[in-house]
C-alpha cells in the first residue's frame, strides 16, 4: 500500500513538478469557522471546500499572479490576487451578505398586502375574500387592520383619530385626488377602483416616507400589476350589475381594461331599503392600464372613469319633509408613470396624474355643482451607493382647483398649488439594524408658507423573528381648501411618535404598536366664521394585530384591536373634544376556512366598535352624547366551480344588529328653541351580494384563485 502511494506520488510529481499548495482557514466576522465554503483559483478547476474546522487545502499547477476566490451562500464572495506561491496558511474572513432580500425592514406604521412573503401582512387573496359590510370594496380588507376606526355611515378610511382627508391615496406613486365614489350622505362610500388591476396595496397608519406629503395620518398606496403574463378575459355577473375585463399581452406591450355597469334597480325592487328611490344608483365605470416595456424601464398609463346618477326621496331635517335629492357624478382620473434604470446604481421615476370631477347635486330642485381639478407631477432619482446605502431625491408639484356654484347665485373658486422637494436615505448598519432618514420641504402658493418635515425611522432585530421599530417625524397638510377664505393660515401639521414590536414567521404574525400624534395649527372656524390656525389636538393609542394560519389546519384568521384616545379642537369645535369618528375600542376578527371536499372558501368577519360621540346642540355641553356600540357579523362564501369559474356570496350583518350612527340635527332651532333631530341608521339592516366570475384565458389556465 505504502509503495503504491509512493508510486502515485512519483507519477504525479512527473506531471507537475511545480505544484503549489494552497491552504488556509475561512472564518466569519466572529471568528467562527465556516464549513463547506468553496475555495478555488479563478478561471481554473483547482479548488476545494473547507472542512469542519474551516480549513481548506488543495494543489494547483497554475503559476504567477492568481486570484483566489472564496464563496459561501449568504456571505460576500472574497477575492484575493496574489502570487500563487503565497496563497498558503491564509486566514480569510467572510462578511455576511446584507441586501434588500435578507435585511430587516422597518415595520413601524406600515402594513403591506401583496405577494412579498417577507413584508406582506395580508396576501392578494385576503384583499378580495374578506367578508365585510361592503362586498368587493378594495378597502374592506384594509379596514380589518388595527388603527382604522369603524365609521359605518361613511366608508372612507379614518386612521388613528384623523379625518378621512388626513389619509391620502396613491396609485403607482401618484396622487389620487378623489379615491371614493360620490354618494348620498349617510350611505357608506367605497373605493372607485376595482381590485382586479392591482397587485399590491401598502397601507401606512403613520411614520411613512418623506416621499408622501399632504397627509397627517395615513397613506394608502396601490400598485397596478407591472406586466401581466398572459392574455385573458374576465366576465362577472353580479346582483348589482355586470362587469367585463380583458387583458391582452404582446411582446413589449400589454393592455388591461375593465368596465362595469352597476344598476341597483332590480336589487332595490326585490329588497327595498328604508328610502324611496326614484332612480336607484346606476353607473358605468371603466379602468384601463397600458404598459410598455423598454430595455431598462417600464412605462405605465392608467385611466379610470365613472359616470353615475341616483335620485331619492328622503326626509330632510331642515325642510322637515321628504325632498328629492339627486347626485350626478362624472369622474375621470389618469396617470402615467415611467420607471427606468440608467444602470445598476441609478434609477429614475417620472410621473404625472390628472383628475377631473364633476358632482351635480340637486336638493329639492336647488342645484349645487362642484367641479374639481387636480394635477400632480413627480420626479424621483434613486442612487444606490452600495448594498448598505440607498438615497433618493425627488420633487413634486400638486395643484388643485375647486369651482362651485350654488343655485346660480353663489359662485366660488379656490386654487391651491404646492411645490415639494424630498430626499430619503436608507442605511443598513447590518442585516439586523436599519435606519431611514428623510427630509421634505413644501411651499404652498395659496398659504404663501414654507415648511420643513424631518422624519426618521429605525428598526432593530431582536431575535430570529422579532424586531423593534421606531418612527418619529413631522407631517404637514393643507387646510381644507374648499374652506380657506382668508390669508395668514398655516400648514396643518402633526408630530408622530411610533414604537412597534413585531414578530413574524411564515405562518404567524404578531404586532404591537403604540403611538402618539400631536396636532398643531389645525384650521379652526369660530362662531362668527373667522378662520384661524389655532386648532390643535392629539391622538394616542395602541394597535394590536395577530394573524395565524398554522394552529388550525385550513383555517386562517386574524384579530385586530385598537385602543384610541383622541381629542381635538378644530373645524367648528367651540372646545376640545373627541371627534365623532374616534371610538375608544375597535375590534375585528376575520377567519377563513378552506373546505377542499366542496371546493369552498367560507369566511367570517366580526367587527365591534365602541360608542362614538356626537354633538347634540340642545345640550349645553359640546359633543356630549354617545351612539350605541356598533356590531357587525358578515359572511362570505366562495365556491370554485372550476379553475375558471367562481361563485361568490356575501351576506353582511347576518344577525341583524340594529346599528345606529347618532343623530342629525336641524341647522336652525324651531320656534321653541329646540333643534329637531333624526336618528341616522343604515339604509338596510342586512345586505347581500351574489357574483359569478368567469375567467377565459388563452391557455385555459389562468384561474379564479386570484379573485377568490
Amino acid at each position: 500500500m505504502k509503495n503504491l502511494i509512493i508510486v502515485i506520488l512519483i507519477a504525479l510529481g512527473f506531471n507537475s513538478n511545480a505544484q503549489n499548495s494552497i491552504s488556509g482557514k475561512v472564518v466569519d466576522t466572529k471568528g467562527q469557522a465556516i464549513v463547506g465554503a468553496s475555495v478555488y483559483i479563478e478561471n481554473t478547476y483547482d479548488g476545494g471546500f473547507t472542512d469542519e474546522k474551516g480549513i481548506f487545502s488543495f494543489n494547483s499547477d497554475e503559476k504567477g499572479i492568481q486570484t483566489l476566490v472564496v464563496s459561501f451562500v449568504s456571505y460576500k464572495t472574497f477575492k484575493e490576487k496574489k502570487d500563487i506561491s503565497k496563497l498558503n496558511n491564509l486566514v480569510i474572513t467572510l462578511e455576511e451578505l446584507v441586501n434588500e432580500l435578507n435585511a430587516i425592514t422597518i415595520t413601524a406604521g406600515t402594513f403591506e398586502t401583496g405577494d412579498n412573503s417577507k413584508t406582506a401582512v395580508l396576501n392578494p387573496i385576503d384583499v378580495v375574500t374578506t367578508a365585510g359590510a361592503q362586498a368587493g370594496d378594495i378597502n374592506s380588507a384594509i379596514k380589518t387592520l388595527p388603527g382604522i376606526q369603524t365609521v359605518g355611515e361613511d366608508g372612507r378610511l379614518f386612521v388613528r383619530g384623523g379625518d378621512a382627508r388626513e389619509t391620502k391615496v396613491y396609485i403607482d406613486g401618484m396622487h389620487v385626488f378623489k379615491p371614493y365614489l360620490t354618494n348620498e350622505s349617510d350611505f357608506p362610500t367605497r373605493s372607485r377602483f376595482s381590485s382586479f388591476l392591482f397587485k399590491g396595496v401598502a397601507f401606512s397608519s403613520g411614520g411613512y416616507s418623506s416621499e408622501y406629503g399632504d397627509a397627517l395620518s395615513g397613506v394608502l398606496s396601490m400598485n397596478t400589476t407591472d406586466f401581466p403574463s398572459q392574455s385573458k378575459t374576465d366576465i362577472s355577473i353580479m346582483s348589482l350589475g355586470l362587469g367585463l375585463g380583458k387583458t391582452q399581452v404582446w411582446k413589449k406591450d400589454a393592455v388591461s381594461i375593465s368596465a362595469s355597469y352597476i344598476n341597483l334597480k332590480p336589487y332595490q325592487k326585490l329588497f327595498p331599503d328604508k328610502y324611496d328611490w326614484k332612480k336607484p344608483y346606476s353607473g358605468i365605470s371603466g379602468e384601463g392600464v397600458y404598459r410598455h416595456k423598454f430595455n431598462s424601464g417600464l412605462l405605465k398609463f392608467y385611466i379610470a372613469g365613472t359616470k353615475s346618477n341616483a335620485i331619492l326621496n328622503r326626509y330632510d331635517i331642515d325642510f322637515d319633509k321628504n325632498v328629492e335629492s339627486q347626485i350626478k357624478n362624472d369622474n375621470l382620473y389618469l396617470n402615467y408613470t415611467f420607471k427606468g434604470s440608467i444602470n445598476s446604481k441609478n434609477a429614475v421615476f417620472i410621473g404625472a396624474s390628472y383628475l377631473f370631477d364633476k358632482a351635480k347635486y340637486a336638493l329639492d330642485g336647488i342645484p349645487k355643482n362642484i367641479y374639481q381639478y387636480g394635477h400632480h407631477t413627480k420626479l424621483k432619482y434613486t442612487h444606490i451607493f452600495n448594498d448598505l446605502l440607498k438615497v433618493n431625491l425627488g420633487s413634486e408639484i400638486i395643484s388643485q382647483k375647486i369651482n362651485f356654484d350654488y343655485n346660480y347665485l353663489v359662485e366660488g373658486s379656490t386654487k391651491s398649488k404646492q411645490y415639494a422637494i424630498f430626499s430619503e436615505a436608507k442605511y443598513l448598519f447590518s442585516k439586523n439594524f436599519v435606519t431611514k432618514i428623510g427630509l421634505r420641504s413644501e411651499y404652498s402658493k395659496l398659504l404663501d408658507k414654507w415648511n420643513i418635515a424631518p422624519r426618521i425611522s429605525l428598526a432593530y432585530k431582536l431575535s430570529e423573528n422579532g424586531q423593534l421599530s421606531l418612527a418619529i417625524g413631522k407631517y404637514f397638510q393643507m387646510p381644507n381648501i374648499s374652506y380657506i377664505a382668508n390669508n395668514g393660515l398655516e400648514y396643518e401639521n402633526a408630530n408622530q411618535y411610533i414604537l412597534n414590536y413585531s414578530y413574524k414567521n411564515n405562518s404567524r404574525i404578531l404586532r404591537f404598536e403604540g403611538y402618539y400624534k400631536k396636532y398643531n395649527d389645525l384650521l379652526l372656524i369660530s362662531k362668527n366664521n373667522t378662520q384661524s390656525s389655532l386648532g390643535y389636538g392629539f391622538a394616542r393609542g395602541l394597535d394590536v394585530f395577530w394573524k395565524d394560519k398554522k394552529t388550525f389546519r385550513f383555517l386562517e384568521y386574524w384579530l385586530s384591536y385598537s385602543y384610541l384616545d383622541a381629542k381635538k379642537q378644530y373645524d367648528y369645535y367651540p372646545e376640545e373634544a373627541t371627534p365623532p369618528t374616534a371610538s375608544k375600542h375597535n375590534f375585528s376578527v376575520v377567519a377563513k376556512y378552506w373546505i377542499g371536499a366542496i371546493k369552498s372558501y367560507p369566511g367570517i368577519t366580526f367587527t365591534y366598535s365602541d360608542p362614538r360621540p356626537y354633538n347634540n346642540p340642545n345640550k349645553d355641553k359640546f359633543m356630549s352624547e354617545k351612539t350605541k356600540p356598533y356590531f357587525d357579523l358578515s359572511l362570505t362564501w366562495s365556491y370554485l366551480i372550476s379553475q375558471q369559474k367562481i361563485l361568490f356570496f356575501s351576506f353582511s350583518n347576518v344577525l341583524g344588529f340594529k346599528n345606529e350612527y347618532g343623530y342629525q340635527y336641524s341647522r336652525i332651532p324651531d320656534s321653541n328653541g329646540i333643534y329637531r333631530s333624526q336618528l341616522i341608521t343604515p339604509a338596510k339592516t342586512r345586505s347581500f351580494f351574489i357574483g359569478f366570475f368567469w375567467t377565459i384565458s388563452d391557455d385555459s389556465k389562468a384561474n379564479q384563485l386570484n379573485r377568490l
Binding site: G36, S38, Y40, E42, N43, T44, Y45, G47, F49, S71, V73, S74, L101, D115, S117, N123, P124, I125, S229, Q230, N506, G596, K599, L640, S642, Q643, S697, D699, K701, A702, N703, L705, N706, L708
Partner: protein, 217 residues
Amino acid sequence: MKKLMILLAMTITVFTNAQTPYDKGMQTAFEYWGKGENDKAIATFNRIAQVEKTNWIPYYYSAQVGITSSFGEKDNTKRELLMQNASVVIDTLMKIAPDNSEVYALKGLLLTAQVAYNPMVNGAKLSGKTIMTYEKAIALDSTNPRPYYLKAQFQMGAARFFKQDLKPFCLEIEKSIEKFDSFQVKAKYFPNWGKEQALGILNSDDCSVKEVKKQNK
C-alpha cells in the same frame, strides 16, 4: 429522485473514461449530488461554469440541484435561498444559451417550485407563467420530453386540487414517455432525466388504479 441521480451519476461515470479536468469536475459534482451534499454539488458545478464560460451544462445542473433540493427543504429561509440562487443561475443560462428548450423546461420547474412553496400566493400569480414557460420549451424543441412531462405533472397538481379528471394529463404523460424513448442526447452530460418519474406517476393511483376501477365498474 435521489436514486435516479445516483444512477445518472453512475451512468455518466461509466461512459466517461477520458479524464479531462472538465470530466473530472463534472464527476466530482455528480458524486456530491449522489451523496446528497447538494450545496457542494452546486458550488462545484458553479466552479466548473466559471471556467467553461460558454458551456451551459454546468450551470444547468447547478440550477437543477438547487431547484430539486428546494422541494424537500424544511427550513423556509434555506428553501427561499435555494430558489433565489437557482433563479440567478437561470438568468445567466438564458444569456449563454438563449432559446434552449432544456433551459426553459428548467425555468418551468423553478416556477413550479415557487408555486409549491407558497401555493396560496404564487399559485394564482405564477400558474399561467409556468404553463407558458413549459410551452415555450416545447415550441423550441418538440423532441424534448421533459417539458411535456413537467407540464402534465404541474397541471395534475391543480386538477387534483379542483377535483377534476386527471385522465387527460395521464395521457400527456404517456405521450412524454414515447418522447423519452426516442430522445437522443445531443452532447456529453446533456440532460437526460425524467423518464423514471414520469413512469412513476403513470403507475401511481392517480393514473393506473382509477383506470382499473372504472373498467371494473
